[in-house]
């Protein structure tokens, strides 16, 4: 039995140590994904909290068929979208959604690698659909097929969003680097 399955089993019986272990294991990855998607520290924190509270509430009835990390990342992505909708009441297609300087700036101090920080900032300039695919694929390591299932769209659409996202990132990074 994998560590995650074992921890989930313990969690079903109310073991708070199992909950702590799962949180320790995945908090950084999930927070990074949330922040990359919404670029708002407080909203990302809320996402993280929601996901773990739900995990704790629903552990008894939960049956994870695939890997737990995939499930948690999907939950973060869904909540990130909810957060954006709540905040802006906008359609998910909106470009540069929630992109305000005050929301992004605190993040900068958290990233110590300048080059990566540039990629992080530039991500915000991608349309949300492309950003989500890129983040889930590259940062969370999800397969295109898994992302397609999560977003309920075809794998082809996911791949094409990913391609567009990469191409746009290349151009934006080049343009910003030239300034």
């Amino acid at each position: 039995m994998s560590e995650d399955k074992h921890l989930l089993k313990l969690l079903r019986h109310g073991d708070s140590n199992a909950l702590r272990r799962l949180y320790e294991k995945y908090r950084t990855d999930l927070f990074t994904v949330a922040l990359s998607l919404i670029h708002d520290v407080h909203a990302a924190e809320d996402c993280l909290q929601d996901v773990f509270v739900r995990l704790a509430e629903g552990a008894a009835d939960m049956e994870i068929r695939r890997n737990l990390k995939g499930y948690l990342v999907s939950s973060v992505a869904n909540r990130a979208r909810d957060q954006l909708r709540k905040k802006t009441k906008l359609l998910d297609r909106t470009e540069n959604i929630g992109c305000s300087a005050s929301a992004i700036n605190p993040v900068k101090v958290l990233i110590d690698r300048e080059e990566s920080a540039r990629v992080f900032d530039t991500l915000m300039k991608l349309p949300y659909d492309q950003r989500e695919v890129f983040v889930l694929r590259v940062q969370a390591g999800m397969k295109f097929k898994e992302i397609a299932k999560l977003q309920n769209i075809s794998t082809r659409t996911v791949i094409s969003r990913y391609r567009y996202g990469i191409e746009k990132l290349k151009v934006l990074l080049e343009r910003d680097g030239a300034k």
Partner: protein
């Protein structure tokens, strides 16, 4: 320029840890939720047999309990569906609408009159080819076909025959949705998406509210098929669309045989609408638009028309608008205040619309929309006013 590989490597290096205070807060909330959940589970295990017995003793309690159970199930479904509902985008609905062949709808028009529509869509364009609309209470039947269309009033025993289709773009679901998508891209703040539990289908539907100038709608989308199951018009009909609400939609239904056939009943009086078409296509009517942009042409013909009405010049009025019986003279009009910008209205397949603001002698200000039909007769570009689109909108009341 950075390669894809470099970008990916840099992105992978992004690693952001939450603050220690956040860790504490999240863990405290999650642990509390875990404790409650475990406690509730235990309580449920203990209480279940006892509660069940009490419920069963009394028929009224039984009913109330059933209601409670239903509510609980409903809440669970909302909770579960919300927690797992994948991201939704307009394209998914557009994609789902790609392969539609037929449709059946139960609708309400803007007079709150119920009617049903059967549609056969063109597989290539998604635009209705055949359509049958029937208003049971007022006994009106419309049959729209590519060659000839009929509008039959059973009460008056009268048939109006038209060449070509009656319904075109207004009933092309994918096209209409595409328009909303474009509008949403331009004005995202006018679109709201949320979930709503639907008692009828027992599903948490995706609800989209699109607000536009004169066309605000609420769409209920089935999360599984991504197709709309209901549509509601949210404001006054200022654009002349036929449908206000769609209470029921079925896609790819089997059409009853001969549903689009029509035989003129014996003794029915016939109005030949083709006469209007002849007038609209007559090169003697309308104005030449050579060297003009569409906007200039539309402004010119609209100005000519209103001025002709105001000055009681019926000859010019008939020449530029040969089929506009709605306003035969302009004695009540004070002046033409403004001519707006030409635009495409999805519900109008005849031509583009140009809004005109008219001041009346009683002080009121109304906005009319003229349908501008562009023509090219033997290589000569021209245009004609093909009528009014919908009723005028009152901008300012009479003094």
């Amino acid at each position: 320029m950075k390669s894809e590989r470099q970008i990916k490597q840099l992105a992978k290096k992004i690693c952001i840890k939450p603050d220690a205070t956040v860790d504490e807060r999240v863990l405290a909330r999650a642990e509390s939720a875990l404790a409650k959940s475990t406690k509730n589970q235990d309580a449920v295990q203990l209480m279940r047999p006892l509660t069940w017995r009490i419920i069963m003793k009394n028929p009224i309690t039984k009913l109330s309990a059933a209601a409670v159970i239903i509510v609980c199930i409903a809440l669970t479904i909302i909770f579960m569906e919300k927690s797992v509902t994948p991201a939704y985008s307009f394209e998914q609905t557009l994609q789902a609408m790609q392969n539609l062949r037929t449709m059946y709808m139960v609708c309400k028009d803007w007079n709150d009159e119920e009617f049903e529509i059967w549609i056969e869509l063109d597989p290539d364009t998604g635009i209705p080819r055949y359509c049958r609309a029937y208003w049971p209470r007022i006994k009106i039947l419309n049959i729209s076909r590519p060659d000839t269309s009929y509008q039959f009033s059973e009460r008056a025993n009268q048939v109006q025959i038209n060449s070509g289709q009656l319904y075109h773009m207004d009933l092309a679901p994918a096209k209409v949705f595409e328009q909303f998508l474009l509008a949403a891209q331009e004005n995202p703040e006018r679109v709201v998406i949320f979930h709503e539990y639907d008692q009828q289908s027992k599903k948490s539907l995706i609800v989209i509210i699109t607000r536009g100038d004169g066309q605000s709608y609420k769409f209920y989308i089935d999360p599984d098929t991504k197709l709309p199951v209901r549509v509601q018009g949210l404001e006054d009909n200022t654009l002349g669309a036929v449908i206000r609400d769609v209470d029921k939609i079925e896609f790819n239904v089997d059409l009853p045989e001969g549903i689009f056939d029509f035989e003129i009943p014996q003794g029915a009086s016939i109005i030949d609408h083709n006469h209007d078409q002849k007038l609209l296509n007559d090169p003697q009517n309308g104005i030449s638009t050579k060297g003009m942009t569409e906007q200039q042409a539309a402004e010119n013909i609209a100005t000519m028309y209103w001025n002709a009405l105001i000055s009681m010049d019926k000859t010019t009025a008939r020449k530029v608008a040969p089929v506009s019986p709605q306003m035969s003279d302009g004695s009540s009009i004070a002046k033409l205040v403004e001519v707006g910008t030409l635009y495409i209205q999805p519900g109008c397949g005849i031509g583009k619309l140009i809004p005109c603001r008219i001041r009346y002698k009683d002080g009121s200000l109304k906005e009319w929309k003229l349908i501008i039909k562009a023509r090219n007769i033997d290589g000569h570009p021209s245009c004609v006013i093909a009528g009014f689109y919908s009723s005028p909108v009152v901008i300012e009341q009479a003094k």
